[in-house]
Every structure is written in structure tokens, then in C-alpha cells.
Amino acid sequence: MSFKLKSNMTFLTVLSGVMLLTSCGRICLPFFSNCHRDDAESNANSDDALSKCRGNPGWSAIRRLNKTEYNNTIRDLLGDNTNPADQFSANSDGINNGFDNNGESLAVGPSQVNDFFTAAQEVSLNLQEQFTCPGVTSARDTCVLKTLAKLAMKAYRRPIGDSEVADLVKLVDLALANGESVEYGIKIAVQRILMSPDFLFRVELPKDNGIELTDFELASRLSYFLWNSMPDDDLLNAAATGSLHNPEELTRQTLRLLNDPKAADFTADFAEQWLETRRLKSTSPDATIFPGFTKEVNISMQTQATSFFDVILRENLAIRSLVTGTFTMLNPVLANYYKTTVPTQGDSFQKVQVSDGTRRGVLGLGAFHVSTSNPDGTSLVKRGKWVLKNLLCKSPPPPPPNIPPLTAQSHAPGLAQRKRMEMHRADPSCSSCHANMDPIGASLENFDAVSVWRHQDNGADIDVSGKLVTGEPFNGPEELAAVIQNRPEFPECFAEKIATYALGRGMRETDKCVLNDMVALNQKQEGGARDLVLRIVNSSLFTKRLPDREDK
């Protein structure tokens, strides 16, 4: 109950003083006013934080495979590398909570169903030899039965019943009755498998007794989290022997999956959505202003961002190294572009130590600087918002209505953007929120819109000093990184993003409570990023599920 009491207290505190009421009647909370449990320390001895937080594991909506998962699953199920989902309509995977694997927004409208059917037909026609039964003429031949049963079992990611095989055999019979071969019949049956909701959705059924996922459901959660794909034989076998709920086995499997090359899909997919660098794929800075920003640089920046996260996770580095690590990932293209003196060998990305601090961590990533800039210049607001939203999970509210715009006067030459934003902030209806965002953005102004280091903006010297609304001062990106690293919200936010991705749903207050406990324990035991993933996988959030949605 202490959580509840504490949150009430915080709310009252907020009401009494910190909360700012803007002139337009809009409420703008300073971003560090969320409720925190006061007993996190005492709970930090146990990983089973669930009961202490008085929550439940929550409910996740049934999840349809998204495009990445569909491509990978077709690859792993049928050895088909054609990536059929690349032909699906753009926007067919909705985005919620910043990720495209959120159950609530993975709709199955007419367009998606059409795309799935077209893909099923095309994939079935390219079926590899191992899924055929040459010379066989009966649908009840052992080869046919075994082939179909094995395919269906893997496709549905669980044991299957006789009636499910019978449904498939019926289609082979139908083909034979129409003068087609057994091979053709199997193709029709494969279409049927690929259109089955058991294949297209990750089904988690309500349990008669309790909320524990079955081992097979857990296997799918794990493989779709860390591989964006179906479980392999090893994982399915572990589920079949009933050992997956054993923490040792679950940990062993998690590490095995993370060490597999297939985990690169997860680290890239997660990082490019968390860090919003996916946007670079359709970003085009004004080439007349920034001729040096080539396609090659753009692509290299995207890889730098995702491989940076990949290394931190796979090498189990401290979470703080995401912002203050003394290394970055570089290839010769970027080393040259950033004008670093670091020698690079070959064409691939390498982990390199950077001494001057400006290119360290996510705040030094070119992909961050470019994706938060306008095509013709930087934006303090966007960069500030990016840091608050993605590193501290404190997304600022939208601007109030009738915002006084940046006036012509504020665009006068010789005025740096920082100065212009200060004029903007003079308006009380804007200052409460912009005081959160702008100083952060201003401290990064040495990086221009294409991440080239500069000393002047619009003819004026750049001033990178500032402070958070909570008072911590900083001067430039290196000090900003140190300030962020010390905010308790930073590792908690990272945990929230990982868990959102892993569970395919947004985090409730009780979930955040559980996660914060895990973060505290992880820090106390000097655990790294991978250790945190292991804690999340072993937690009730990941291994249990409420039978139905809680009433809203």
C-alpha cells in the first residue's frame, strides 16, 4: 500500500506548488514529477518484485506477426529467404508505444489479409524439396502425414492434434480428387497452414488454473523477443520437456538466443525504433546546404546506432555506457566524416575508443543528430524532446493552442537558434515546457543538422551551457551525458523500453514499479544490460499473463 500512499503524496505536492498552470489553462508538468516508490531499496533483495508492488502480470493482446517476424518465420519454417512481407502494404503494422510489435495495433484488415493470402500462395509454390514426397500417390502415406504434422507443429509453435493433421490431409485429398499430384496437394495444405490464425497470431490461451504461460507459449515469447522469429528445435524441445519455466533453463536459453547471430535482428529492430533512427531511411537534409551528407553516410549512421546497442547488450556492458561509454562504433566512412583520428581497419564497423567525449554514447550518434533535425537546420526542441522521451521516458506534452510563433524579429541574422528560443520562452505559456527541452537541445548545438561539429550558428558563437529543470548544470554533450547517467529515470526508462518491446504492450504503473525494482537490484549487483534482459525474461511480467483484459 505504500506505493499508493506515496503517489497520493506526490500528487498533492505537485498540486501545491510545482505544477504550472499556463495562461491557456493547459497543465504542464515539469518532467521529474512522477511518483516513485519509497521502499524500492527494501524490496531490492528479491527479484520477485511482483507481490511487493501489489500488481499483476497484466494482459497482452493476441499478437499478429508483424512484417519482420513474418519474413523471419517464413525463413526459419520453410528455408525461404524471399522476404515476402516486403511486398505487404506500407503501414500495415501499426505503431504503438513507439514500436511496431504492439498487440493492440497489429490489425488484420482487408489489406493485411489479402497480403497474407498472396504471400501464402507464392511461398507454397516455391516449396523446397524437403517438404515434398516424391513418388507418393496417397494422402495417407506416412511421408505426407509426417511432413504435414511436422510443419504444422513448427508453424503453430506447439503440439498439434490429430484433427489438425486431418484438416490438412483433406486438402491433399481434394487435390488428388481433382487429378493433381500429392506435391501439389501439400502446397495447398501449406497455404492453409500459413493462413491459420495459429500461425499468423501468437496465441496465448486463458488457463483454467492460474496465470502461468505454457512452456510453448513462453518459448514463443522468448524467440519472438530475441530473434523476431519462431522457436528453433532446441527451444521447442525444452518446452516439450517442460523445463522452460525452470529459471536455469530459461536463462540458458535466453543466453543461447542472444549469442546467436539471429539476435542481431532484435538488437537492430529494437534500437532503430527506440532511438528513432529508422526515420533516417526517409530523411533527406537539404543537399544544397549539406552536400557532404551522402547516402553512404546516412546508411553508415543507421548501422552505427544499431551496432552500438548490439555491442552493449551482447557484451553485457553497464547500462550507463549507453550514454557515457568511452567507445563508439565506426567504419572508415564515418571515421572520415566525423574527422576522428581513430584508425579503422577494413570496411566493417569496429568498436573504437574515442577520447574527446563528443562522439560517445547515444548522444554522440550522428543518427540521433540527423533524425532530430529539420532538413535545413537543427532543432533544439526536437533534440531536447528526444532526450526526455527516449532516455528519461518523460515525453513533454504537446504545445498549447495559439502558441505565439517565432516572429520575424527572432529570425534576424546573427541570432543563434538558442537566442531565438530564449525569446520564444519569454512567453509564460511556453516556458514551462520549453525550460525542460531547450537547454538539452542547446547543449548539443555543436552538432549541426548532419552531425558535423561546428563552433558557430547563424554567425554567432555557440553557447552549450545549461541545466536540467531539476538543477543539474552541464556544459556540452559530455557533461549532459554524465547528468543523464545519474538520473534514476535513465536506467528505468531503458528497462521500460525493453519491456515494452518484449511484451508487445505499454507499461502500466504497476509494471513500472516491478521494473524499477529490477533496475535497482541490477545496479546493486553491478549487472549489465544483458543481465537486465535476463531479469525481465525471468520475471512474472514475461512468464505469466492475466486471462483477460482488466476492465477499463
Partner: protein, 464 residues
């Protein structure tokens, strides 16, 4: 509704468009005089949605007699084909009273639905309401002369620009909702859409297999449906409903094309791709697809988004008044008054594309009338002004004759309706013109004070 029979259409096509009424009368008898030929043709609806509002000070003419709107200048040649409304307000797009990030998600999410989109929470599905275009499409689909495609949704480009967070991109990427929880994908790949127009199942045997596969899926899907939780049933129902729709489509796709109606024997569209480097070509192809779908009577309801509602694309092919290419991102520029000139150029270009679409619709003859005479075309945006996020005085342009429902030559070219007329009133008016059994109310007004949930949003039917 009096149906426009194929034989009559065939006759009209054969006879050409210069046919005189007395002759018609002699063929069809006295009845022909009372049957309005335009009124009996299939009526089509196309709604074109522009992203990020318009630069509104230059949208409305300051002087009705001189028609001096900068943005509407490219529409000059169609001035007798459209009317401009002022005063429509989409109050369901407006979240400010409840301190939520309504912004752009509200603008497009509430646009054709007149319901406030549901903000995202864990365990809560995106939800708004069935959009008015889908209400019309559903009536046509259920009628005895359903079209091959129930409705068509198109968008000019693929790029994803800004995550609208509380009202997630599902609300900014589409304006058409076939159910309160199913947003329809606005297709950006024109070649794919074009191919789907004419792709039937190759042989009757293949169609039989396809139907057997889908029947079998439905059977097991219904079994699974009974095992999952109530909340998950909603998603499975959505899936099974659309599997059934696909089955119906397999049959319809094999019906012969409506070539008597003037459908070209070798239809073509502009080659394009949906990335930003080919935006002009792709948007051209989008409009060609819409015209072709109408011309061949493949569908009668089309919605088009020029881009997603928070589009931040550049327009390097356009120049500002100083001759510089327009970079800076559409959305970003709308928030900067210094960029007004550039935003005006973008809006003006958008209207030139709409004007070209109307050219195309005028060039397609249907009997003695044009496709435009038989259609209603709306151009609108979900915000009046994207700089300060205003939802009143929405830009709303209505073109075409609606199959005789509107005589554009007789109505005012500019109508000021006064203050804050619900946008849903206009949609009711359009449904009234498009449907046999139009609804009497539309949308749901979500009162910011908390009460009155469930009250219809509309306050009356707007007559045109």
C-alpha cells in the same frame, strides 16, 4: 435507387455524347423525360485529404466577387464545378479541453468518423468509429449490384515522419475505418493496386482450392475464437470477417470487367514508386487509379490522403518566391510563420493536382455527362491551421454534380455557414446524396466536461 442498366449505358456510349433529348424520348418513351439520366448513373464519391491543414489566411477568398484566393488559383478553370464552405468545425478532433495530445491524430482520426479517437493505453485497442465513406461502401456492397472492390484507399507516399504518441500513427496514416477498430490501409504502391484491379484467380480450379483453404481456415478459426479471451476475440473476429470478405472477393474478381461503361481495353497508369523522390509521379498515379476505378465501375468510393497527416516531407520540385527549392519539412514549416510563403506554395501545388484530377474526371464521358457530373469530390483537411492546431473553419471544397444531386451552376461558389457547424452535418449531407437509406445522425460527441457521451455529433443534415 433507380439502377443504371448496362444496356442503357452501352447504348449511350454507342450513341455518343451529342445525343439529343427528343431522340432519347422516342427510344425510351415518355418515361425518359421524368428519369433524370444523371440521377440514374452510378454515383461516386472521392474524398481527398490534405496533410497539415492549409495556410488558411490564403485559402478563403477575401472578396467573393474577385475570387482572389492564392491557394485556389490553380482551381480557376473549375470554378463552375465546385463550391467552397466555411464554418465547419470538427470538435471531436479537438482534445485541448482534456489536456491530451490531440493534435494531428485527432485531425485525421476524427475526420470521417466524427468520433474522438481513443488514446492509447495498455490493453486498449485503437478505436474510433466506422467512417462515413465505409458506411456508404457497406450499403453498395450489400446491394444487388455490388462493385468488384467495395472501396479504395490510396496515399501518395510511404514515408513515416512523426510518432504522434498518445494518438498513435494508426490515426494519422488513415482516414477510413471499416469498423471502429479496423483502420483501412491507405495503399501507397500504385502498381500493386493496379495489378489487384485486374488479377482474378487464374483458373476456376485455383479459385476452388483458394476457397477450400479459406473455408478450412474459417472452421478452425471459429474453434480458436471460442478458446481465447473476450478481448482477443475482437481481433480474431476482425481476422475471420476479412477472410470471409476475401472469399467473396474471389468470386467477384472473376466477373467480366465493365467495359461497356467505357473502361479502357488496355488501361495504363504512370510508372512510379511511393518514395519521396518520386512523389509527383506517385501522386499522379494515385489520381489515375481513382479515375480508372470509377471509370470501370470497380468501386464507387475512394478516399485519398495526399500524405500521412503529420507529413514532414520536402518539396524540392517546388520553389519558394525567392526561387529556392522548398526544403524544411512540411509539418515543421507549418509551425513557423516565416515559412508561410513555402506552405502556400505547397498548398497551391496540392490544389493544382486536385484540378488535374477534375480535368481527368471531366474528360471521361458517361453518356451525355462526365464522370465528374456523376461524382462528388471533396477536398478537405483535418485542421484549418496546422500552426496552432485549429479545427474550426475547416477547408472544405465540394466538386461535381453527384449524379444530379447538385447543380453546381446554381449554387453559391462560396458559402459561409457561420460559426462552428459540426463537420458531421456535412458528412450527413453527403451520405444523404450517396445512399438509398442514409443514416439520420452521425458520429458521437464526446463532451470534454465528461457528460453527454453517446450524444450524436451531428446537429442536422447540411444541404448543398
Amino acid at each position: 435507387m433507380i439502377q443504371f442498366s448496362k444496356s442503357r449505358r452501352a447504348f449511350l456510349k454507342g450513341a455518343g455524347s451529342c445525343i439529343a433529348l427528343p431522340f432519347l424520348e422516342s427510344i425510351f418513351g415518355a418515361e425518359a423525360r421524368s428519369v433524370d439520366l444523371i440521377g440514374s448513373a452510378p454515383r461516386r464519391l472521392c474524398i481527398i485529404y490534405g496533410a497539415n491543414g492549409v495556410y488558411h489566411p490564403d485559402w478563403y477568398p477575401t472578396d467573393g466577387s474577385n475570387w482572389n484566393s492564392k491557394i485556389l488559383a490553380p482551381m480557376q478553370r473549375h470554378s463552375s464545378n465546385y463550391t467552397l464552405l466555411k464554418g465547419l468545425y470538427n470538435r471531436n478532433a479537438d482534445y485541448r479541453a482534456v489536456s491530451l495530445r490531440g493534435g494531428h491524430g485527432g485531425a485525421s482520426g476524427a475526420y470521417l468518423t466524427a468520433i474522438r479517437p481513443r488514446p492509447i493505453l495498455p490493453g486498449v485497442f485503437p478505436q474510433v468509429g466506422m467512417s462515413m465513406d465505409q458506411i456508404i461502401a457497406a450499403e453498395i456492397a450489400a446491394s444487388h449490384n455490388a462493385t468488384r472492390i467495395p472501396s479504395l484507399q490510396l496515399m501518395g507516399r510511404t514515408g513515416f515522419d512523426i510518432d504522434t504518441e498518445e494518438l498513435p500513427p494508426v490515426y494519422t496514416n488513415s482516414i477510413s475505418w471499416s469498423s471502429p477498430t479496423t483502420s483501412l490501409i491507405m495503399e501507397t504502391n500504385c502498381r500493386k493496386t493496379f495489378n489487384s484491379f485486374f488479377a482474378g484467380q487464374k483458373t476456376p480450379q485455383q479459385r476452388m482450392y483458394s476457397k477450400s483453404v479459406l473455408d478450412s481456415v474459417l472452421e478452425s478459426g471459429n474453434r480458436l475464437r471460442n478458446q481465447v479471451s473476450r478481448a482477443d476475440q475482437m481481433r480474431l473476429d476482425e481476422y475471420l470477417t476479412n477472410i470471409r470478405a476475401l472469399e467473396v472477393k474471389l468470386d467477384v474478381l472473376d466477373q467480366p470487367l465493365y467495359q461497356e461503361a467505357g473502361c479502357p481495353l488496355n488501361p495504363k497508369i504512370t510508372n512510379s514508386s511511393p518514395d519521396d523522390d518520386h512523389y509527383q509521379e506517385n501522386l499522379k498515379a494515385v489520381f489515375e487509379l481513382a479515375a480508372l476505378a470509377f471509370q470501370c465501375d470497380l468501386t464507387r468510393v475512394v478516399t485519398i490522403m495526399l500524405s500521412n497527416e503529420v507529413s514532414n516531407m520536402n518539396y524540392p520540385f517546388l520553389n519558394d518566391s525567392l526561387g529556392r527549392p522548398i526544403m524544411g519539412g512540411h509539418h515543421s514549416m507549418t509551425h513557423d510563420t516565416e515559412s508561410a510563403d513555402r506552405v502556400i506554395q505547397i498548398n497551391k501545388w496540392e490544389m493544382s493536382q486536385v484540378a488535374k484530377f477534375l480535368d481527368q474526371m471531366t474528360s471521361i464521358k458517361e453518356g451525355s455527362r462526365t464522370l465528374l457530373d456523376n461524382s462528388l469530390v471533396v477536398f478537405g483537411t483535418g485542421m484549418r491551421d496546422s500552426q496552432t492546431h485549429q479545427y474550426d473553419n475547416l477547408p472544405f471544397l465540394l466538386a461535381g454534380g453527384g449524379g444530379g444531386r447538385i447543380d453546381q451552376s446554381k449554387i453559391a461558389r462560396f458559402r459561409d455557414l457561420g460559426q462552428e457547424v459540426p463537420l458531421s452535418n456535412a458528412w450527413l449531407g453527403i451520405m444523404d446524396m450517396m445512399m438509398d437509406s442514409p443514416p439520420k445522425t452521425f458520429g458521437q460527441y464526446w463532451d470534454p466536461s465528461g457528460g453527454n457521451i453517446g450524444r450524436p455529433d451531428s446537429t442536422g443534415i447540411l444541404t448543398f
